[in-house]
């Protein structure tokens, strides 16, 4: 089925009834993120990658968990906040990142109630990439700019509109909703290739873990400033910290993002820090992205969206590291 370009706005209006639509919008000339659709203008799907990933809708920067009262008669109530939302215009790399988060928070051994509630009410409508950005390298990471297997619904570019392929029940529901706006025919335009290449391989992941004390880590880490930009912009970083905010007799317990690159992230009560310097922290982040996650969940945690490569203040580059490691340890494809 194909959705003509001019039917986009009516389609979105139909969707709006289901819940709040979040589309990629440019906040100002430097920052863009998934913000509520203003209900009239066509979303800018040509925007390469939003500065802030869509993970904020499922795993908010700050999420109230419980509200408690200690003065008078103590009370504790869970904060339930799971509005129905539709993520529209998600790129294949972000769609894959949502899949990674699902594996963590909706895992077999433990399911995170807060995340689960939100995820149940969110529909992900992916959109294939018409052209890739300078820092995109998703095809080196086993993804394709033309497919988003984990998304609910996929819109593939055609000359006159988009090819609608539903991939889950939620996707079916949306496709059904749009059935009189879509028509037969149209075939997807050829998928573009990423300009930035890096030869990541499963074998390399294994060697990196075995090369824990290799001097390569020391060579790469020095330029890092230890700020949290890469982790907060990364769609697949899911570390969080729990804290509370109290006002004498009452307050809230909340969960907020945390970054393994911060110096105090692993600082223990007695002041000992198992990852005291940048070397350990950067090594931990790269290994988590490229190897540890794969060992546990079977897929690499880096979706190649290129946000960290584009926004790192010191211009560190994970693809350069991968190529350097591959060439040094002879794992090149």
């Amino acid at each position: 089925m194909q959705l003509k370009r001019e039917n986009l706005i009516p389609a979105l209006r139909l969707l709006a009834a289901q819940g709040e639509i979040l589309v990629p919008t440019a906040v100002d000339e430097k920052v863009s993120k998934f913000a509520p659709w203003d209900g009239s203008s066509a979303p800018d799907l040509a925007l390469v990658n939003t500065t802030l990933p869509p993970k904020d809708t499922l795993f908010p920067h700050q999420e109230g968990m419980y509200r408690y009262k200690t003065a008078g008669e103590p009370s504790l109530e869970e904060i339930v906040e799971a509005p129905a939302r539709i993520l529209f215009g998600v790129r294949p790399c972000d769609a894959r990142s949502i899949d990674c988060m699902d594996k963590v928070f909706l895992g077999d051994k433990y399911e995170d109630a807060f995340y689960a509630r939100r995820r149940a009410n969110v529909t992900v409508i992916a959109h294939t990439c018409a052209q890739t950005g300078p820092t995109c390298f998703c095809d080196s990471m086993g993804l394709s700019p033309a497919e988003a297997p984990s998304a609910d619904l996929l819109l593939s570019d055609t000359e006159t509109g988009w090819l609608v392929t539903a991939q889950t029940e939620k996707g079916e529901a949306v496709a059904a909703l749009w059935k009189d706006l879509t028509a037969e025919g149209g075939e997807a335009a050829p998928a573009p290739a990423c300009t930035l290449k890096t030869n990541m391989s499963d074998a390399l992941a294994g060697t990196l873990v075995s090369r824990f004390e290799d001097p390569i880590w020391d060579e790469v880490c020095h330029a890092c400033l230890g700020c949290g930009t890469c982790t907060y912009l990364c769609p697949t970083c899911y570390c969080f910290d729990i804290n509370h905010e109290d006002h004498g007799g009452e307050g809230t317990q909340f969960r907020c993002w945390d970054s393994c690159m911060f110096s105090d992230y692993t600082r223990m009560a007695g002041g000992h820090n198992p990852r005291p310097s940048k070397k350990e922290r950067l090594r931990n982040r790269y290994l988590h992205k490229l190897a540890y996650f794969k060992e546990r969940y079977g897929q690499i945690l880096c979706v190649g969206c290129g946000r960290c490569v584009g926004h790192c203040p010191s211009h560190l580059d994970i693809t350069a590291f991968i190529d350097k490691a591959a060439e040094r340890f002879g794992e090149g494809k």
Partner: protein, 280 residues
């Protein structure tokens, strides 16, 4: 530009072979032609990787704080702003000047917005200077504080809305703090949750309080290198806060510019009986 680059490589090679320094910090290639990244050259052969072009925008001085008790000497390539950053860190007693070997590089300005109002293109402190000094551009106080005066003209409501919109974008990644040479504490107040200075929550008021507190902490020692605005992923106008404090200091207590060899000492660390007093 390239003869300075080769001179830089020669100097680095000489320093490393003679063993006067253990490491040379400069800029190196990345896979993107329009970007360079700080590199840490430890062997004479690697000196070939040092580059000097219009894309060397990353500040280098802050990296000395990775090892506050160094064994050997550390060489750093210093443009005008880096040399002031070195002065800043040495004046704040976080590093000893004799543990540093500064390779001075006069800079015609890089592709960063701050370079338009850069008052000191020639390094103010160096051990060796590569290439002749470049002509300084004349920056009047109006240009220096142009953004600040514009904001001062607004009404309190407009001012608050402007800052409210800016600070609500802050995602607390602390890139501004980690890039700023004046932010050189071993343990930042923002990381001490037990004391209760600052919560971990991300909301409009908390971001604004963090922004203002950091502005007050570094405002009177800010060397106007523009790193905070360059590194901020969300594009906050952080310099307009610190430059506001610098503008007030200039208005209240006379000409004040930080990080220069003849800079006045830390202004909040001293007082004058004849200070202006609005609190009578």
């Amino acid at each position: 530009m390239s003869d300075i680059q080769s001179a830089l490589r020669e100097t680095a090679k000489k320093l490393l072979t003679e063993g006067t320094v253990t490491c040379v910090i400069g800029w190196g290639e990345t896979r993107f032609p329009d970007k360079t990244t700080p590199i840490f050259v430890k062997t004479p052969e690697d000196a070939e990787k040092l580059v000097w072009n219009a894309h060397c925008v990353c500040g280098l001085a802050k990296y000395m704080l990775d090892n506050r008790c160094p064994e050997g000497k550390l060489a750093i390539c210093v443009r005008g702003c880096d040399s002031r950053a070195v002065n800043r860190i040495v004046e704040d007693k976080q590093y000893k000047r004799e543990d540093l070997y500064l390779i001075g590089l006069p800079c015609e300005g890089k592709d960063a917005p701050i370079c338009a109002t850069c008052t000191h293109r020639n390094p103010v402190v160096y051990d060796v200077l590569l290439g002749g000094p470049v002509p300084e551009i004349e920056v009047s106080q109006e240009d220096r504080f142009q953004a600040v005066t514009a904001l001062e003209g607004l009404t309190p409501a407009e001012q608050y809305d402007y800052w409210q919109k800016q600070f609500s974008k802050c995602i607390h990644c602390y890139a501004c703090r980690n890039a700023c040479p004046a932010c050189n504490c071993t343990e930042c107040y923002a990381d001490q949750y037990r004391v209760g200075w600052q919560g971990k929550q991300i909301d409009k008021a908390e971001n604004q309080v963090y922004g203002l507190t950091r502005a007050f902490h570094v405002g009177d020692r800010c060397i106007e290198c523009g790193e905070c605005e360059r590194v901020c992923p969300m594009g906050l106008p952080i310099m307009s806060q610190t430059r506001k404090i610098l503008k007030d200091i200039n208005d209240l207590w006379g000409n004040y510019e930080c990080g220069l060899t003849d800079s006045r000492p830390h202004i909040l660390g001293e007082f004058d009986l004849s200070d202006r007093d609005d609190f009578m």
